[in-house]
Symmetry: none
Subunit: 401 residues, 2 copies
């Protein structure tokens, strides 16, 4: 795969505009009664017309046979090889609640838990306390004073929270405090690499103070911390390709992932139509626009084939509004497959539709997994899609003379 | 390509069962009179039905344009990038005669040769002595005493034998004693890396003792040694994927290769039907079962198109017995191509058929090189097939969150 450094050296300014439409978990599998996948069952006249003019392909998000999580799935789409660039669990959790991380942040996932008089864990989830209680306790913990460190402690849901340790010199490489079973005490944080010793000290200090502050609480009288991770050291899209990049996404996780690579989030309502309205409104501000549609994945995970089909049809209905903006390149794809028959993310390759005036049309009859097998893009890795987009957008100059 | 360490971290337990059927050298080329390849000429109703339900692809065993030997061809199928993991010739020769190596073994290929009174080689193959003579002389050599070293010396065929030096601390990195021409003396073994000096000492001592023991023999009065190599440091399939893996193969070489990656060999007779009987008998003992069919390759090398076709048809006839065992994933493929028109291993990509309930069917009309071009697996490296198998077997968890 071509390196980001090489891509950066090839990038050139252009006035072209790109829209990347990601239907989360778009790839499907045939349903029993007529053998159609979700994309095939959906009535998608606009996507089909685009497919007929464009070039199709299939993409493996990580590698053949590997099922991606949302983080690596999107990193791949943004052009970062997920096997090379890894995002820690703490960072992902922080991003998922719309926290804006800085490069001085060390993030961790937290659980409120219950411990007995001996300090042994009796419930790793503190009886799944209500989110409002979690929020109040986070407020308490945020008052902990650690010299030189800013603390951000925010509720996620029920017993789950995120803590950001913000300070210079906090490096990742820490063991977790979760013993993974009850009747054990929370473990001390250990630095697994020497340069993480300051971070270990800070984390242990936080846990000790939390213990004191929570002593009188019930059932959430202690914390366990996992997934310590730093803000990932990723070159931003602007640095690599020189594009101003924007994102519209209903769910915070995807705005957060996009921010990690330098995209700016724009506001939108909750529906697919709202997202296309936001796209219309902000189209002039960006060279590269990423629109994330969540519900294809959610319905896929629910095993709700029909509703996944309806979301695809909804996107199709809005597509003319996008095309009316006269983008130079449009890509429609997904971060992974979530076949409704499988009810989970899967390893199947993802259909890709690339449209620009520079396409060799495949003459496809529609946009589907089947048609994509024969597409001119071939079978690629998701991380190769961004160079393709930039190539079709005439934003990459010749490699060598 | 995803690393074995990453795969290991993704592996999860499952009850699914996998059968990998390898028809050695299966890939073919069109014959002159009707343009059909061996797979196309064969009547294979069962394989064709499986292809219609499954997902097809083409695999390059090593890299495009590269013709594989049997060792790397199989390593690739077992999921080890043959460009990264290499098996020495000595080990391969030992494996080929069913020797069970340990991680303390240094293996070498030997030739009995003829030398004159000055010690100059007059015949590098000692007139191709009969195998029985070779066996007797190996018995002699096995009596050589080297302190701290166990010696195993076994005949291969005619003048060829294998020697295993079994001891702690014998590292590979040795020069060969074969001068590759007559009228030269056998060369001393040199350590090409410093930590191989003990091994060089041992090998030279063996050669010196062999010279004495063989002095009165004719024509085989000396030995030359080549291909010194250690038992390869490969993580076993069990370590990576947590599967119990079994192999049925008529030829020892393939049982041996499978043992190198942790498979357990089961006994079978000599025919394809015998192999399927062994598969039936031992199916319950393993999660992963590798069945090796040799004669597709042998007839390919002979240029015997018709007989290669018959072997394919024989496998097809037995296929229902395999399917009756209700495996979760079946893959049918080869370790390389051996087109009968080419009479040798070739560099052509190998047809792959993957079948499971999680397939997006390609709707192929049959199993052939032509149909595989349009398959949903695309064009992959053979080493990527194992992650695909494990993905379809639901034995890999999500990569990242």
């Amino acid at each position: 795969m071509i390196s980001l450094d090489d891509l950066k050296s090839l990038a050139r300014p252009a006035k072209t505009k790109v829209v990347l439409v990601v239907m989360d978990g778009i790839g499907g599998l045939p349903r029993a009664f007529d053998g159609k996948t979700e994309l095939e069952a959906a009535q998608t006249p606009h996507l089909d017309a685009l497919a007929a003019q464009g070039t199709l392909g299939l993409a493996d998000p990580i590698a053949p046979g590997i099922t991606p999580g949302s983080g690596p799935g999107h990193l791949g789409l943004f052009g970062y090889d997920p096997l090379q660039f890894r995002i820690g669990r703490g960072v992902l959790e922080a991003v998922g609640i719309d926290l804006q991380l800085t490069d001085q942040d060390l993030a961790a996932r937290g659980n409120f838990c219950s411990v007995d008089a001996q300090g042994l864990i009796t419930d790793r989830r503190a009886g799944r306390i209500p989110t409002e209680v979690c929020a109040r306790l986070c407020g308490l913990l945020e008052k902990i004073q650690i010299p030189g460190v800013d603390l951000i402690v925010r509720p996620v849901r029920e017993h789950r929270f995120v803590v950001l340790f913000r300070a210079v010199g906090l490096e990742e490489g820490l063991s977790e405090t979760d013993p993974q079973e009850i009747d054990k005490p929370p473990l001390p944080v250990r630095a697994e690499v020497t340069h993480a010793s300051r971070a270990a000290e800070v984390a242990n200090r936080f846990v000790a103070e939390a213990k004191k502050l929570l002593a009188a609480e019930h059932p959430a009288n202690m914390v366990i911390l996992r997934g310590f991770s730093q803000y990932p050291k990723l070159p931003k899209l602007t640095e690599i390709y020189g594009v101003r990049a924007g994102v519209v996404a209903v769910y915070p996780m995807y705005r957060g992932l996009a921010r990690l690579v330098g995209m700016e989030a724009v506001k939108a309502g909750d529906t697919v139509a709202d997202e296309f309205t936001a796209l219309e409104k902000h189209f002039g501000e960006f060279d590269f626009f990423f629109a994330h549609i969540k519900k294809t994945d959610s319905y896929g995970e629910d095993g709700n084939f029909e509703s996944k089909v309806h979301v695809i049809e909804e996107v199709d209905r809005e597509l003319p509004r996008l095309l009316a903006l006269k983008p130079d390149v449009v890509m429609v794809t997904g971060d992974h497959s979530t076949p409704a028959t499988h009810k989970a993310h899967s390893w199947h390759p993802v259909p890709v539709l690339l449209w620009s005036k520079w396409c060799r049309p495949d003459g496809a009859k529609g946009f589907s997994e089947r048609e994509c097998r024969f597409g001119g893009l071939g079978h690629v890795r998701s991380a190769e899609l961004m160079p393709l987009i930039m190539g079709y957008a005439e934003r990459l100059t010749k490699f060598g003379a």
